[in-house]
């Protein structure tokens, strides 16, 4: 097939390699000029004692050796994984449900979507942090409710066990972009698929599993990968709501890296942590990509 088209429209500009590189050029340029050099530099720094104020000084594998016995780093990996395992599915399921809820054709659909989308617009601002602290604070409505249920002296932000929950909820609450992507994916599903299924007597549940999920699977894969990455990178909320506390219960890896690099002046060590994190994430995304061929369906 490919050879055939090549023959049909010969000429340099129509060679697949040329077309490919022409269209991919923007990314390749940015990768070579703006990303590759900084990535290489951070890899180099990870073998150095680098304080920003002074020039990097080569120390070999010392940073990586220190990582092995760094309890704070280990803890931050663990709490990050906990955050990702609980937070990512929650957010995705939530976003998909709301997206489906709001595809129902009514005059108010646009308005409803806008309302559900607003929370995402205010991002990681100071306002969100303050609201969250008041909502989940020691005198806030949520804690009052829990106290009436018979748990005295309960307090989210003082509890190493529960401090992560307001952060996970805050992340799930800002599901707007995932919802929008699901919504536009749902829109791409041809209506006659459903009509045909309905004629065949398939119920709503069956239609969801037999039509919606398979056709949406590439989008689900995309949202899953992206939410995993952003879950691993979670930073702003942990910084402005809990500052990693109490007793490192929400000291997520990106926050720990930021503290090491900028507050404590160990930029080389921070880079080493980043590369370990990169390896872990590359393994996780690699596994998902490998298995995805079994559960994603592309039109072809």
């Amino acid at each position: 097939m490919q050879a055939e088209t090549q023959k049909q429209r010969g000429g340099f500009l129509h060679n697949d390699n040329v077309v490919g590189y022409l269209f991919a050029a923007p990314f390749i340029i940015s990768f070579l000029c703006l990303t590759l050099i900084p990535m290489a530099m951070s890899l180099y720094y990870s073998f150095c004692n680098y304080k920003i104020a002074a020039l990097p000084e080569w120390i070999g594998l010392q940073n990586y050796a220190n990582l092995m016995k760094d309890a704070t780093f280990r803890n931050s990996l663990l709490v990050t994984i906990q955050y990702v395992i609980i937070g990512v599915p929650l957010k995705l399921v939530f976003a998909l449900l709301v997206a489906m809820l709001l595809t129902r054709p009514t005059k108010l659909q646009g308005f409803y979507r806008a309302v559900y989308y607003i929370p995402s617009l205010i991002g990681g601002s100071v306002a969100v942090a303050l609201v969250w602290k008041q909502l989940f604070g020691s005198r806030g409505p949520v804690v009052s409710l829990i106290k009436t249920l018979g748990v005295p002296n309960f307090n989210f932000f003082g509890s190493t066990t529960w401090a992560f929950l307001p952060l996970v909820l805050c992340n799930a609450w800002q599901f707007g972009s995932s919802m929008l992507i699901f919504a536009s994916g749902l829109k791409q599903i041809p209506k006659d698929y459903y009509e045909a299924a309905e004629i065949d007597g398939a119920g709503a549940v069956k239609r969801f599993f037999k039509i919606t999920l398979p056709i949406l699977s590439p989008i689900i894969l995309f949202n899953l990968i992206m939410q995993l990455i952003s879950g691993f990178m979670t930073f702003t909320q942990a910084q402005i709501i809990t500052d990693g506390g109490p007793n490192y219960a929400t000291n997520y890896i990106a926050l720990n890296i930021f503290k090491e690099g900028f507050s404590y002046q160990h930029m080389g060590y921070a880079c080493a942590q980043s590369w370990v994190m990169l390896l872990i994430m590359a393994a996780v995304t690699g596994i998902i990509f490998k298995t995805s061929s079994h559960w994603t369906f592309y039109e072809s």
Binding site: T5, G110, K187, F258, M267
Partner: protein
């Protein structure tokens, strides 16, 4: 049957509205706070509605700090966000097309490279990137914020790739037979069918650029170039924060993104454009 549908409808709307209120409670809180005195914003038993409406927060906030008002900051944010969004859409669609539909050598490599770029935390890339822009003499301009958007944004590239892969390949093949080449397939077949994901890209990338704080912080370096998100942070300090004006300006800063959403969402709704794909 009709009756049951009507009841269903009522249940649906009641549920969506009730749940929606819960969703936007924090946003309402912020908007109402922009009319409150400080003690009512921060108090442990603060009322939901302002006990006394303070409208002064708006003019106080608008005048910003020093000789520049928020008019400048809004103008800057609009310039950066519009150009950045434009760049994101064009470049990401192009790259996505190449990676999803063109069978060129090294395609897998570049796809992997793109995913890898997202796996390093921005915190460690910040300094080397800053050094590069500084060497280029472009710190203190909008260029470091806008130019990279014209060079593809991995998140949106990958998103559009997934949408393109959802389009039947037969379409391309049919177009080929009709005499289209790879360029005209992109322009005439793929782009029009990508409609929903392009709208999504516009809406999401606009507000991400609008909300971005780290980029403006590092690269703008003079107040005349500050964006709204950076200027709003200027109200906050450990030594005392002007909460009322800060929330007033945060509320105003929601309006452009909200309007943009309302405008573009029409194209994501059913019934407005006919289902683009028919088997």
């Amino acid at each position: 049957m009709e009756k049951r549908r009507a009841i269903n409808n009522v249940i649906y709307h009641v549920f969506v509205v009730a749940f929606g209120l819960l969703m936007i409670y924090p946003v309402l809180w912020m908007i109402l706070s922009s009319f409150k005195m400080k003690s009512e914003i921060l108090g442990t038993n603060a009322p939901f509605l302002p006990s006394k409406w303070v409208f002064q927060n708006y003019p106080d906030g608008w005048r910003g700090s020093g000789s520049l008002t928020f008019a400048t900051y809004f103008k800057n944010s609009i310039v950066v966000s519009c150009l950045g969004t434009l760049g994101t859409v064009i470049s990401s669609a192009m790259v996505a097309y190449a990676l999803a539909r063109v069978d060129f050598k090294g395609r897998k490599f570049w796809f992997t490279a793109m995913i890898m770029t997202m796996l390093l935390p921005g915190q460690v890339l910040m300094i080397p990137q800053y050094i590069i822009w500084n060497r280029l003499g472009l710190v203190g301009t909008f260029v470091p914020l806008i130019l990279p958007k014209f060079l593809g944004w991995p998140f949106f590239i990958y998103m559009m790739m997934q949408f393109i892969r959802g389009l039947p390949k037969e379409l391309d093949e049919a177009a080929m037979i009709d005499g289209c080449n790879k360029y005209s397939i992109f322009a005439r077949i793929i782009l029009p069918l990508l409609g929903p994901s392009i709208i999504t890209t516009i809406v999401i990338s606009f507000y991400w650029i609008w909300d971005d704080y780290m980029g403006p912080l590092l690269y703008l370096s003079k107040p005349a170039l500050y964006t709204v998100s950076l200027a709003i942070k200027g109200f906050a300090d450990a030594q005392g924060t002007n909460f009322g004006p800060m929330f007033a300006m945060s509320t105003l800063s929601l309006i452009p993104v909200f309007l943009l959403f309302l405008f573009f969402n029409r194209y994501l709704m059913d019934g407005v454009t006919a289902g683009a794909l028919k088997g």
